[in-house]
Every structure is written in C-alpha cells, then in structure tokens.
C-alpha cells in the first residue's frame, strides 16, 4: 500500500485565488464540507466549478433552448445528443471547442480537440463516421495568424486522418477580432443502434471502476481553468502542460471500447475530457445518484511521484472510465489487453453518495457527490446593451461611393480568404475513408450514406459572426436558418442541431447581452424550423487585453435524406438550364462582405429574416426536388448573389460552365 510521498500544501488566500475561486465560492465549499478543504478537494472544486465544466454563467440561459422533438432520443446533459433516423438506428453528434489550447500550441491544441470530440461520441456506443470543423483566424496577412492557421489545419489532419474518421466539411472565416483569440470548434457524428446507446452513469453498488487507455501525466493541469481565464501576457509560459494527443492509442481505444460495449460487458462509460478523472467519475456518480471511491495510487502514471491532486486533475488524452460488474471485469481487461492498452481497476461504486479519493491508505478527498454538480454556482450575470450598438447599426447607403467596375469587385470578393476555395485546407483531410462520402467538401453540406440502409445524412456548420456583432438576436436566427438552407440545398430535411457558443468575457455586461440575445434568436429559429438543440458547448473568455471576439454561436446541423441517391450538389450541371432565385433579393448590404472588403466598413443591420417565410422557401425547394425538377441548389451567403452564382459555375470541376443573369 503506497503512502503519500509529499505532504499536501496548506490552503492560503493566494492558493484559492490561483484556483480561480471567488471568496463566495470558497465559502460555499466550507459550508458543504463543514471544514476547510484539503488541497485535492480545492483542486476538484476549482475545475468542476470552472466556467468550462459548470456553465455557471450560461446555464440559466441555455434552459431557453428547445430540446424536445419527435426525433430526439437524448437531449443535452449526456456526453452527446442522439436522434432517431429510422431503420432502428440513431445519429449521435456534438460539437466542442478547443480555442485556448490552440492559441498556445496550434497543432496539439487542434489535434486534442479532435480526439476529445471523438471520445464524446464513441463513449455513447456509436461508431464515429464523420468529423467537421469550424475555424476562425485573424487575417492571413499577419505571420502569427498564418502560423496558427497552418498548425491548426495540420493538427486536425494529423489526428483525424490517423484515426480513420473522414473530415467531410466545415467553414473558415478570417477577421481581425480573432487575432489573439482563434477559434477551433470540432464536430463529430456517429451511428449506433437505437437500443445500443450507452449512458455515462456509475450505477450498481459494488461495481468496479475501470481506468482504460493512455497513462496519466501532468498534461493540461489547470487546462480547464485555463480555458476560463482571460489571456494575459503570461499565457505564453503556460508550458509544457499543453495536452499532447496520440491518435494511434485513440484508434485502439475506439475499437476496444466498441468491442466491450457490443458484448454487453459495460454498465456505464465516459471519456476523461476536461478535468479528466474528476469530472468523469463525479458526473457518472451524479447521474446515477451513487457514490464512488477511487484509489489514485492504482492509476497508471507516466511520471514519477505524481500527487493525487495531479492525478485527479490531469487532462492527459485518450483515457476512458468504465463501470463494470465484478464478474465481467476479467473479460473487459482481456479485451483491452488484446488492443495493447492499459486497463486497471482503480475503485468501485458505493451507495453513500460520497466522492471519496484515496492514495493508498490516505483519504485526500471526501465530498458529497450531489454538491459537486448540483450546488455548482449559477450566475445571472448583469446584462447591458453596448453603448456603441446604435452607432454600429447606423449605415446610410447613399454615403457609400458606388464603384461600378463590378468585375473587379466580384473578383476581389472571390479572392478573399473567407470566400475563396478551401481546397488547400480540405485536401489535407482524408475526407473519403470509410467510403461513405457521397458529397465531399466543396458543396454546401456534406452528404454521407448510412451503410445497411439507403438513407443519407447531410451535415453542415454555419455562423456569420459579423451579423451577430451587429445584431446578436438576428445573427443567431440567421445562423440556424443558413444551416437549414445548406441542408435543404443538399436535398435533405433538417432534423436537429448542436452548437458551439464562442463569446468574450461574461463578466462584461455587454458580452452577456450578446450571449442572451443570440440564444433568444437561436431558440426562436429552432422552434419555427423544428430543429431542436440536442447537445452543445459554451466557450467564454475569448478576449485578450480587453479585445473580445465577435459573438460566434456556431450551429452544427444534421438533416436526413430518405434516399441518398436524391442528394443535390451546388454546381450548375448543363447548358441551357434555367436559374431560379427562391426568395426576395432586397437592397440590404448591412454587415456585408462587400462593405468590409471594398470599403472596410463593418456597420449597418444584418439582412431581414422572416422565419415563417424561410420555412416555406425551404419546404418549397424540397417539394420541387421531390418532383425531380432540381439539378443543383446553392444558398446565397457571403459575397451575395454574384458570389453565389460564381461559386455555382466554378465548383463544377468537369465542365467550364457559365451563367447569364438578367
């Protein structure tokens, strides 16, 4: 029986502050425990009550999202959401952000983001079959932005390609507001049998807690709390506790975990993501209403002399926590052995509702499980409409000089990085492995077939953050509507969404105003378009030295094609085909790419949006398509009608096709 090599430090005011806990939050801990916390307990509360894990500034607002619907099997609250796609199958998907780590180490930050979202999917018992990513960078004229951009793309490729899950699409925007705060949001979708979905709960008193996967190191300790702190100058020295990913071990982990789940050997399972062993074990006990006891001296470690505090908070990658009945323990350990992975019993489920952490004989933490999740602080932060809002909404079209050399303008618009062809990026991603990719990158939505059925799934990610900056309410609405347009333009019926809500510092009232308004817009659009929110993520504190990113609530939407053969692509097909515009083309250039690129203006109001009209247009398109009358469809977005039509011509790789517009 191991004993503690080093005494745990005493709790001091500075130590509490370093852990990002306010005085009230610390006082709350004392009330819960009835005593001062141990060092390990302080660490546990600090990560579990961080913004990233507890959603303390957003939880009260997230409740406004519509999360119910006839297709919804599992809504928010689990590792990922699940929807019914018929044929006894479920589509399981979610989005996650890895913004702060990608600023510090672009390659590993992005790579571990992919690793993390994959684990959220296969931990539900689903085989991951598609990845996407939404990226935001500062302009590529700056060398630092090029360095981050190249590192992030090769990190996503390095991890995704090695794990053998195709990256089938995504979107990239470039804007000054992301200079010091790039965004790396990753989306993953998997397929499971409807009756083969696993939940992350530690039920069954006496069941064993099995740790499986890579050894634990000192990676990313305070990784979670780091994500919730604003970046000051010191962020560069947050080294080397950057998390490093090992896609090869993750591939073995996917196969081993899906194997034990298929054989019915597992009661509950969860990946060790942000806050590692602490969040996985406490959340699993929280959901099942049980307790857990863990002996951290049994945890396989990569470095000598690791303290329980470090073992509980480490965010080393590629690790899973399983709950297994005693008699099935041996068989589970053998399967992990076949895949050459560490797997060892580190504790068990108890019925005293206590989260008890030991190191050999020493007890280093004893916390009521309920208090970790349920009594996490919930804040209704003050909200205030920014003083500059009216000013940035003011735009007088007549004041803008009209330059009628429209050819040069169109060519300029098509050349800017946000609109230009992204082949340089997606050709680094293996977007064909698993041979399901029916529509590959370069069209509106990606379309993947569901083997064993003749169905297809259309998936897309969307958000115009300038619209959200000018009017977060309408911007949020447009993000959902545009995602639905992309799904419909692929011939599919929108079903449900996940999201990644990237915002600045919630302690600033105007940022909270942006957040609350965006959520209102998203909720309304989801209700009218009947696409409930089934999972998601919030990333706050995307500010550096007072400069905040534009509000960027990215929407990831999934749609269904009853028959995958009926998919549509965006490029014009044959000479002589008629080009039809659905919807009204109004004189609206507020917040347009044209204004920014040609006149360097980011003002005005985003375009009008009438959700019922939007729904009718989308339904009309699908009805026309059912009659077999549509050869291509493309939604009108950045760069307006001219860029949209140009894209329909250019993206036809086989023929040089043009268009004449009256």
């Amino acid at each position: 029986m191991k004993t503690l090599e080093r005494k745990e430090p005493k709790i001091t005011k500075k130590l509490i502050k370093d852990h990002g806990l306010t005085d009230e939050e610390y006082q709350k801990i004392i009330n819960i425990l009835g005593r001062t916390p141990t060092f390990t307990e302080l660490g546990i509360f600090s990560v579990m009550w961080s913004e990233h894990c507890s959603y303390k500034s957003s939880r009260v607002h997230l409740r406004k999202f519509p999360t119910k619907g006839e297709v919804v099997i599992q809504g928010p609250g689990e590792n990922a959401g699940a929807i019914d796609i018929g044929d006894g199958l479920a589509a399981i998907f979610k989005m996650e952000s890895h913004n702060h780590p990608s600023f510090i180490e672009p390659y590993q930050g992005a790579a571990t983001g992919v690793g993390g979202i994959l684990r959220d999917i296969f931990t539900m018992g689903a085989r991951p079959i598609a990845l996407m990513n939404s990226l935001r960078f500062g302009p590529l004229q700056l060398q630092k932005n090029r360095y981050i951009f190249e590192g992030v793309v090769s990190g996503i490729a390095g991890y995704g390609n090695c794990i053998g899950v195709p990256t089938v699409g995504g979107e990239i925007y470039f804007s000054e507001c992301y200079n010091m705060n790039p965004l790396v949001n990753v989306f993953c979708l998997g397929i499971a049998k409807k009756d083969g979905i696993f939940r992350g709960n530690a039920s069954g008193v006496g069941n064993s807690l099995i740790y499986a996967g890579s050894k634990t190191g000192r990676d990313g300790i305070h990784g979670v709390t780091m994500a919730s702190e604003e970046f000051g100058e010191s962020s560069e020295e947050k080294r080397p506790n950057v998390q490093v990913g090992d896609p090869f071990t993750e591939k073995l982990l996917v196969e081993a975990c899906l194997d034990v789940m298929k054989k019915g050997l597992v009661v509950g399972i969860q990946d060790m993501g942000g806050a590692g062993l602490t969040s996985s074990s406490s959340e699993m006990a929280g959901r099942a209403g049980t307790g857990v006891e863990i002996d951290t001296s049994l945890v396989p470690t990569r470095e000598k002399g690791m303290m329980p505090y470090e073992i509980m908070l480490s965010e080393s990658q590629e690790r899973m926590l399983l709950v297994v009945e005693k008699e099935k323990e041996k068989e589970v350990l053998n399967i992990f052995k076949k895949w050459d992975l560490d797997a060892v019993k580190i504790g068990m489920v108890t019925n005293d509702g206590i989260f008890r952490i030991k190191y050999g004989k020493n007890i280093v933490a004893e916390i009521p499980v309920k208090s970790i999740s349920d009594s996490a602080p919930v804040y209704e932060r003050p909200i205030a409409r920014p003083a500059i809002q009216d000013d940035i909404n003011y735009l007088d079209i007549n004041e803008i000089p009209v330059n009628n050399d429209f050819n040069t303008i169109l060519l300029k618009l098509l050349s800017i990085a946000t609109i230009a062809n992204k082949a340089w990026v997606y050709e680094q991603y293996d977007h064909m492995v698993r041979t399901n990719s029916v529509v590959i990158p370069g069209s509106d939505a990606a379309v993947i077939r569901v083997k064993g059925t003749n169905k297809g799934l259309a998936i897309t990610t969307d958000c115009n953050s300038r619209y959200c900056y000018l009017d977060p309410y309408k911007g949020g609405m447009i993000a959902v509507a545009e995602a639905a347009r992309n799904i419909v333009c692929a011939g599919a019926r929108p079903l449900a969404i996940t999201d990644c809500l990237n915002f600045g510092n919630p302690e600033k009232p105007e940022i909270m105003w942006q957040f609350v308004e965006s959520i209102k817009g998203i909720s309304e659009a989801c209700k009218v378009l009947n696409t409930p929110v089934i999972s998601g993520n919030v990333s706050f504190y995307n500010d550096t030295k007072g400069i905040s990113i534009y509000p960027t609530p990215i929407i990831g939407m999934v749609g269904l094609l009853e028959s995958v053969e009926q998919h549509i692509t965006q490029w014009f097909k044959d000479e002589g085909d008629a080009i039809i515009l659905l919807g009204k083309n109004l004189e609206e250039i507020g917040g347009s790419e044209y204004l920014k690129v040609i006149h360097n203006i980011e003002r005005g109001k985003p375009p009008e949006i009438n959700l019922n009209f939007e729904l009718q247009i989308q339904k009309a398109l699908l009805d026309i398509h059912k009659k077999g009358l549509i050869k291509s469809a493309h939604d009108c977005s950045e760069g307006g009608l001219s860029a949209t039509i140009a894209e329909c011509c250019i993206s036809n790789k086989d023929k040089g096709i043009g268009a004449a517009i009256d």
Binding site: S154, A157, N161, C162, I163, G164, D246, P247, F248, T249, K251, L252, W339, D340, A423, Y426, E427, Q428, Y429, D430, H431, M432, V433, R434, T435, S437, V438, R449, K451, V564, E565
Partner: protein, 228 residues
C-alpha cells in the same frame, strides 16, 4: 474466391476493403488479425490502407514485424495473390516483398484527392479487366514519394513491374500530374512473378456508382477474373 483482409493495430481502410470485396464484388471475405500466421484458406490477401502503429517512426516500419507478415511472405512465394494498398504498399516495401522505399510527399502535406493513373500493363492478375488506359482513383497519403536506386529502377522497367504511373486525364505522365514527387510518376509496382502488387491509390474508394466513380472496381474484378 476468398479475400483475406489483414488488420494491424491502426489500419483503418480494412472495413472499406471488406465492403468492396464482400458487398460490391459479392465474394467471400474475412478479417485476419495481424497476430495470425496461417493463410492457407485464402485466395487473395489485401493489406489495407491506414496508419499501422500510427505510422510512427516510418510508415510500415513496425507492422512488418507482425507474425502475419511471415505468413504473407510464404503465401506470396506459393503463388497466392497479395495486394497492398497505400499503407499496405508501404508495409510490403518495408518487409522487402517489393523493392524501393517511400519518402515524404514533396509538398510535405497529406494529399487527399482524385488523381489519374495510366495502366502500364493489363496482363497481370490485377489489371486484366482494365478496359481503359487511364483510371481516376483517389489518393490519401503523406508518404507516397516512391524512391528506388538506379539499379532497382532499371530492373523494374526491364521486368515490366511498373503497373501504374500518375498521369493527366489523357494519360501523359507529366510532372504536373505527379502529386507527390514519385520517381518516374510510379504509383504502383508488382514483384517479379507478378502476384504481389503495391499501389498508393485506393481502388476500394471508387468501386460504387453512389460514390460517383467506379474505376476502382475494375481492379477488384481483375483479381476475381484472374482466378476463374
């Protein structure tokens, strides 16, 4: 005809090759774990694409030591058909079953897109059904830049062991049609008695109309046809 698809830790195109053989070609197919050492019940062995052992150190450097590779060497010596696709080709090179080696793509980037290959000879078990000279097949790799010393290269040419070369749509093996810098646009070679083929492009990714391209199917049909 019975296809055996080898699974190394880190292979990820094994499912795709199984799907092509079993569901597209309707042939008998089975997965073979890399620790097995008997292959007698199979007619053709596929070493699929992927990242065996994470492609750490070198692509295929560790996979070549798996027990199954001894059996593959014997299976090939006894005249059985072996096709190594992408990572499978790299493993055959490291194991010495095919001559030469793969370097990093000259762009230093992973490349995933359709390319064209010219079929250099159709009297092989892998190309006898290739009615047309130029096939459109996707590649997906970061180390496909084939290298061989001058002696080996001239030997390959004399023996007509070069089976595929990167070309443009009309079959010219230009440098602009060479995606990774391979010597003489080499995309696929076979061994001396022609029963072991290594190719970088992925035929299993273009064997069905729904995926928009069926050129890869010709290679699988050639294999089935060679044993009739």
């Amino acid at each position: 005809m019975k296809f055996g698809i080898i699974v190394f830790p880190g292979s990820n195109c094994d499912h795709d090759c199984y799907h092509a053989a079993r569901h597209v070609l309707n042939q008998d197919a089975e997965f073979i774990w890399h620790k097995e050492n008997k292959l007698s019940s199979f007619d053709v062995i596929i070493i699929p694409g992927g990242f065996s052992y994470g492609d750490y150190l070198r692509t295929g450097a560790i996979a070549k030591f798996s027990p199954v590779m001894k059996a593959v060497r014997k299976f090939a010596k006894d005249g059985g058909l072996v096709i190594g696709i992408c990572n499978g080709f790299q493993i055959l090179l490291e194991a010495g079953l095919l001559p030469g080696a793969m370097l990093r793509n000259r762009t230093l980037k992973f490349i995933c897109r359709d390319i064209y290959v010219r079929v250099e000879s159709i009297n092989t078990p892998f190309t006898n059904k290739c009615g047309k000279k130029v096939l459109r097949i996707p590649i997906a790799h970061a180390e496909g830049n084939y290298f061989a010393d001058p002696k080996t290269l001239s030997h390959l040419k004399e023996n007509q062991q070069i089976i595929f070369r990167y070309s443009n749509e009309s079959g010219e093996t230009t440098d602009s049609a060479n995606p990774n810098g391979s010597m003489e646009n080499i995309a696929g070679i076979c061994n001396e008695n022609g029963n072991v083929l290594g190719m970088m492009p992925h035929p299993e990714r273009c064997a069905e109309a729904i995926l928009g391209n069926e050129d890869g199917r010709l290679i699988f049909e050639s294999i089935v046809n060679s044993r009739r």
